[in-house]
Symmetry: C2
Subunit: 319 residues, 2 copies
């Protein structure tokens, strides 16, 4: 079997994405696993290589798709040009994966502010990719070795979470998560679903979302043959004993999942978009404008994103 | 200076409290630190000692305050009698501390269900002690070596947290926490205050409680001379680097504080009630009815509760 081809976007040209792409191309571990293709600006990558290294080798696998304006983007500040360049890279790389010219998509960080300046209405990759591929249901999953957490709601203000949660939505996330775990090689995945309230409501004493919204989703998933426990008291759902009993944990809201995930897997966590017709992963950090082009950005999470993309792509080929 | 005298309540007679009290009396580390006084039922403690050990030595420091009904309480089930006994122990021990016959109060776990059966309206120790001592403002703090977390709201359903949070309430918790840290020997405590929303609201994009409720409390605390940072994005507020920059973290709701606290300090965490006219601590676990009188309950958290009570009482003497 040939090595999978991974389309990697350069991300916002003012952030750390370009230098991380250069580093990826120099990582023997990455080249052993896959054939990375950088979707970005050759001129900008060359400039960044001169500024903070490492070198862009002649013949490096770069697909130039950002036009001339990329090279003019200064580091450290979100701009409309940066937003346009980032979008162009995503569109080109996505097209390559959809047409079978690549097996998976890995995206370097983009800037919400730059997107807004460029007149792009999406708050991030997840929503943009869902729109571009027409995905009806999608979810955000975070993965690290031995720890998988998916979110029933994502970038929702705290107060709006109870109204945003729905039995159908939680059931979707359970199904999408189980499907991803199967692709990753777990034939019969066990999922744990968190409650929303302290002590998972303690029988209705501290809230009723468990009985009214979450438990019906857990029951419906069981009826469809999934192995699901919960709703669990959130403050013990991430302890070692609970984690040993589940292959993935479904959190009800952003910080319920990300406080423990970042504590357990900082700098090695990967973001996976579930529900797209393609495999897509990304690192668990942002554009880091403050340290762009200083040569100090760590490629750890980006390398992990490539590794998980390769694993998920291999699982997709089989399934 | 004589050793501090610590009043320890037996907790619900059907739970693991009685056996933990017996174990405490046998711990050399505890006897070296303080003079523990068990407020409970001598007859029940003798029965538990016979059932699962260790022995209750003749002349052991037990204050018999639970009447005859304690000895008849069977293990493992919440009952009205159990609730009454637990309350009697708390009242007697509290009185001893208020009258200066003991220096601090450590409470073994009680059962909310047993209290309800006994016709006691309080959901737990914190609220009962606040009522009995007339405390105007109080808060729950969790402590372990190198980690202190206090809560701006406690047993509130998820959906009611935004309306329960107030600038004045958060300011109270900041002040009470700083006061406790000073007692514990940190002359100029640094506090970090969490936001409520994902990314602490990201400038209002994901909620406005940060600007409208939390930031005003942080500013008011600074004006009063406290060293306070925040509101911080919750999902990174508990990472090692952030913890190094703060002596305590103020969480906005139960699981925001307790998911990370339990992950970092399981089985060695201690609950401290702030704002009472006395020092009160308790272990970080419940009655554990399911393992009562099997001799398997770990006294680790109870021993820690005694250690923190001794430290806080020493700080109170000085202040």
């Amino acid at each position: 079997m040939s090595k999978p081809r991974i389309a990697v976007t350069m991300g916002d040209p003012a952030g750390i994405g370009p230098e991380l792409c250069l580093r990826l191309l120099h990582e023997p571990a990455v080249r052993m696993l896959c054939e990375p293709m950088i979707y970005g600006s050759a001129a900008l990558l060359e400039a960044v290589a001169r500024e903070c290294g490492p070198a862009l080798e002649p013949g490096a696998p770069v697909v130039d798709c950002a036009g001339d304006e990329a090279a003019a983007v200064a580091p450290g500040v979100p701009t409309a040009a940066g937003g346009r360049v980032a979008c162009a890279c995503i569109r080109a790389a996505l097209q390559a994966v959809l047409e079978g010219r690549a097996d998976a998509l890995v995206t370097a960080p983009i800037s919400k502010a730059a997107l807004r300046l460029a007149g792009v209405a999406f708050p991030g990759h997840t929503e943009m990719l869902a729109h571009l591929t027409g995905a009806r249901r999608y979810a955000m999953m975070f993965a690290a070795e031995g720890l998988v957490v998916s979110l029933a709601t994502i970038h929702v203000p705290y107060a709006r979470v109870p109204d945003t949660l729905s039995t159908a939505g939680i059931l979707d996330v359970i199904e999408l998560t189980a499907e991803a775990l199967r692709r990753l090689g777990t034939a019969s995945p066990r999922l744990a679903v968190c409650g929303l309230n302290p002590h998972a409501g303690e029988g209705g004493l501290f809230g009723r979302e468990e009985q009214e919204i979450i438990l019906p989703a857990v029951r419906a998933a069981r009826e469809r043959g999934f192995s699901v426990s919960g709703p669990l008291p959130p403050d013990t759902a991430f302890l070692p004993e609970a984690r040993r009993r589940a292959d993935a944990i479904v959190a009800m809201y952003h910080d319920q999942g990300l406080i423990p995930f970042k504590m357990l897997a900082f700098d090695r966590g990967v973001n996976v978009t579930l529900g797209l017709p393609i495999v897509r992963t990304s690192p668990d950090h942002g554009t880091a404008f403050d340290i762009a082009r200083q040569g100090s950005a760590s490629p750890g999470s980006m390398r992990e994103a490539v590794r998980w993309a390769v694993r998920l792509a291999a699982g997709s080929r089989k399934s």
